[in-house]
């Protein structure tokens, strides 16, 4: 691990630690309103000021970070599992299965990601409880984000199917199921790990985009998307710089992931 990657690890651990400790760092919660100090500047009691509804921005940033940082890996896990099943099996079985699976994958890949997301989001109810909106966003990202990973996994599984040790195992009479679970699947692990980690920053950014467009996690629950929506009303950058904290945090986290994943991209390819 290089020096830059170590720093990225430390930064991610700090941000994750702070967000997980939100209950202790901001015990009043993200929804409590301080009606006498709405849209206030940073102060001793409110380190990052308050939003237009009088809610403590520091608390909202901490809780929002926690939701975004837990949601993205959960969605990445779901999409990697879907990719493993669809891409891995298609590559292992080959022939018509692989062609059919890759045709569907290519069709999904040709669709602009945001179009696909908002179309699928619009199919589900928009007026839902905050917790349901978290589940909907997580399921949406997880079930639609598997295509690129499935393509890579299909290619890797196809290469393994043609490898000498798999041919030898097949010649020795190993059954198809055992061949897949004992010989092919364990060798796909590095690609699966790489795809899982590569999906996380993509899903963080996708959630932020959905949130800013008003199609993400519902109020009053905060997420980076809903926190960034605050920037919509700004007239100049210097006007209320503390409103940019969530954006800076998002950039820092995504950059840390990119640094950490610089080696993983080669495995994933």
């Amino acid at each position: 691990m290089s020096f830059r990657q170590k720093i990225a690890c430390v930064v991610l651990a700090l941000v994750m630690g702070a967000s997980l400790g939100a209950n202790w760092l901001a015990p009043d919660g993200y929804a409590r309103q301080y009606r006498e100090v709405t849209d206030a500047a940073p102060s001793r009691t409110h380190w990052l000021g308050t939003d237009e509804l009088g809610r403590d921005r520091f608390a909202r940033v901490l809780y929002g970070t926690r939701i975004s940082l837990l949601l993205a890996p959960a969605a990445a896990l779901l999409s990697t599992l879907a990719a493993a099943v669809i891409g891995g099996l298609a590559g292992y079985l080959g022939g018509a299965w692989a062609r059919l699976a890759m045709a569907v994958t290519d069709l999904f890949l040709s669709l602009p990601w945001l179009f696909l997301l908002i179309t699928a989001r619009a199919l589900m109810p928009l007026n839902v409880s905050p917790l349901t909106s978290v589940a909907v966003t997580f399921l949406l990202l997880g079930t639609l984000g598997w295509t690129a990973a499935a393509r890579v996994l299909c290619a890797s599984a196809a290469a393994l199917r043609k490898s000498d040790f798999v041919r030898q195992a097949r010649a020795a009479g190993t059954s198809g199921t055992r061949l897949f679970w004992v010989h092919v699947a364990p060798n796909l692990k590095p690609v699966l790990y790489a795809q899982f980690w590569l999906s996380i920053p993509v899903f963080i950014l996708s959630e932020a985009n959905l949130g800013i467009l008003g199609l993400g996690i519902a109020e009053p629950m905060p997420s980076w998307g809903s926190l960034l929506k605050e920037l919509e009303g700004l007239v100049s950058v210097g006007e209320q710089p503390w409103k940019f904290v969530s954006l800076i945090l998002l950039i820092v986290v995504v950059t840390s992931f990119q640094l950490l994943l610089s080696g993983q991209e080669e495995i994933a390819a």
Binding site: L111, P112, T119, L205, L213, E232, T255
Partner: protein, 290 residues
């Protein structure tokens, strides 16, 4: 049939399959959309029971999804995509009114993105200075870490054109691919030999490196169209530009499925067409080189 012919045929089949499958999905979603079975005219107190029954009978034909699909496809072939629920206008009119702005925005945005990509990637490949390469990579990496919607918000904040926001959303991806392709081409043995023989950097770049990477760059160009179309949603929605991206966003917020699904199918066709064209042109170039 030659390799090129088979490729073109494959792309045409893929487009036809997309139209048929996409059309079926559109028809199903439109048919199942809330409010499909109701007609406001039935509430008109001036209509007698026979007229109300006549209206109901007229809709009876569309109750069966398969029948509805065929009639939907027949209408779609003639450019009739139905009516928008939220805006109360024909989808065709809405698309016709908004398409010019989106096309202009995409053309300028993509042009600018590729201009930036070419300038940075070619100069980085030509100069081969690690500091310059690191700076260009950091710049593209920074934009890569920003959500597209935030770039759109900044373009509103600083009063910048929407096309620039699209360019800054697309450029980091195209730059990364182009830079990697150029670096890979530079490591080829014949390029190393050309340099050892004392050929100038400009001649190596434009005569030996760029021709190798053109087919792959064309594939990236095809993908960049898809990225730009995706970027048009936040840019048009947040910059207040009345294009197809904003229409899709409004349709999503209003759960206007007939409008949204039709837009998505059309956008899929455009991106498939762009990718197929890039693939076929790349194939032609590779054929000429061979």
């Amino acid at each position: 049939m030659g390799r090129l012919g088979r490729k073109i045929m494959g792309h045409i089949l893929s487009l036809v399959a997309t139209v048929l499958v996409g059309g079926f999905l559109s028809a199903t979603l439109v048919r199942l959309a809330p409010g499909f079975d109701s007609d406001e005219r039935e509430l008109d107190p001036h209509l007698n029971s026979q007229s109300v029954q006549a209206l109901r009978d007229a809709r009876q034909h569309d109750r069966n999804i398969t029948r509805f699909y065929f009639s939907y496809m027949r209408r779609a072939v003639h450019g009739d995509f139905g009516n928008s629920i939220s805006l109360g206008q024909p989808v065709r009119t809405l698309l016709r009114d908004r398409a010019p702005l989106t096309i202009r925005l995409l053309l300028f945005g993509l042009g600018l993105a590729w201009l930036l990509t070419a300038a940075l990637a070619l100069s980085a490949a030509w100069l081969r200075l690690s500091i310059y390469d690191a700076m260009a990579t950091t710049l593209s990496g920074t934009f890569l870490c920003l959500p597209a919607a935030v770039l759109a918000l900044f373009s509103v904040l600083w009063n910048l054109p929407g096309a620039l926001a699209i360019a800054l959303i697309v450029f980091p991806h195209t730059y990364r691919y182009s830079r990697n392709l150029l670096l890979k081409a530079y490591s080829q043995p014949h390029i190393i030999t050309a340099r050892a023989k004392g050929l100038g950097e400009a001649r190596i770049l434009f005569w030996h490196v760029v021709p190798i990477v053109i087919p792959q760059l064309l594939a990236v160009a095809g993908i960049s169209v898809s990225m730009a179309i995706g970027a048009a949603i936040p840019v048009e929605a947040l910059c207040g530009l009345a294009g197809i991206g904003q229409l899709a966003w409004q349709a999503a917020l209003g759960r206007d499925l007939p409008l949204l699904v039709n837009i998505t199918v059309l956008v899929t066709l455009v991106t498939l067409l762009a990718n197929s064209s890039a693939d076929v042109i790349g194939c032609v170039i590779r054929g000429q080189e061979a």
